[in-house]
């Protein structure tokens, strides 16, 4: 199936830990994104990335960092996790900056 996939689907961890969420797309898209959806369902873009440019939402703490080993993958690394990081994180991809297709989401719970 062509899609955007994320692993893990659920992630429960302690404060202060470092964790990663993986994202892969097999749609042949050149741009990938990370979004955070909070408990009130509000969606906020964190990063957008193509092979030329990383655009960072300036409100994102530098504990969050995207890493792209290749065009099909954009992983999200989070250092020193805090309670407020608990949310659902969505990866998305698009061709150039057109219609975005979203992954299934990763529910992160920080205890």
């Amino acid at each position: 199936d062509t899609a955007v996939s994320q692993t893990p689907k659920y992630l429960v961890t302690q404060m202060g830990n470092d964790k990663s969420i993986k994202c892969e797309q097999n749609l042949g898209h050149d741009t990938m994104y990370w979004y955070k959806q909070d408990s009130k369902k509000f969606l906020k873009i964190m990063f957008s990335y193509n092979n030329k440019e990383l655009i960072i939402n300036e409100t994102v703490p530098n504990r969050f960092s995207p890493k792209s080993p290749d065009k099909a993958h954009l992983n999200l690394h989070i250092n020193s996790l805090e309670l407020g990081d608990s949310a659902v994180y969505f990866c998305a991809s698009s061709h150039l900056s057109f219609e975005q297709f979203f992954g299934p989401g990763t529910r992160l719970t920080v205890l």
């Binding site: 009130k40 969606l43 698009s94 900056s97 979203f102």
Partner: protein
């Protein structure tokens, strides 16, 4: 800074009725999207509106875009229970050049028999 406002945020409808969800945005953009999200699920793309006056329809849903008024509408015709979900509009912050979508807060639609 681009702001996107949806209203209403909650909508309870009876089956068979019609209603409209509104999406206003604060700065110029020619690219607007509508997404659907079911509880605990991902976002599903419904409509991509790329120019002033664009109108798209899929089943009981119809979306339109007025870039001069900075307004998009999502019209629901003869609602059915399967349409119950949260609907988001999103506007490209760069006017279409970056793909950084700014989302509205979502409209939670509940269709009751």
């Amino acid at each position: 800074e681009l702001k996107v406002e949806q209203n209403p945020l909650f909508l309870s409808m009876q089956e068979g009725k019609n209603y409209t969800i509104y999406c206003n945005y604060s700065t110029t953009s020619d690219r607007l999207y509508w997404y659907r999200q079911d509880p605990g699920k991902s976002l599903e793309s419904l409509f991509v509106l790329l120019s002033n006056g664009a109108v798209k329809q899929e089943g009981r849903l119809m979306a339109s875009l007025d870039t001069k008024a900075r307004l998009s509408t999502l019209h629901i015709t003869a609602a059915v229970h399967d349409l119950s979900a949260t609907y988001f509009c999103a506007v490209d912050e760069g006017g279409g050049s970056q793909g950084n979508l700014i989302f509205g807060k979502g409209t939670k639609l509940s269709v009751k028999p």
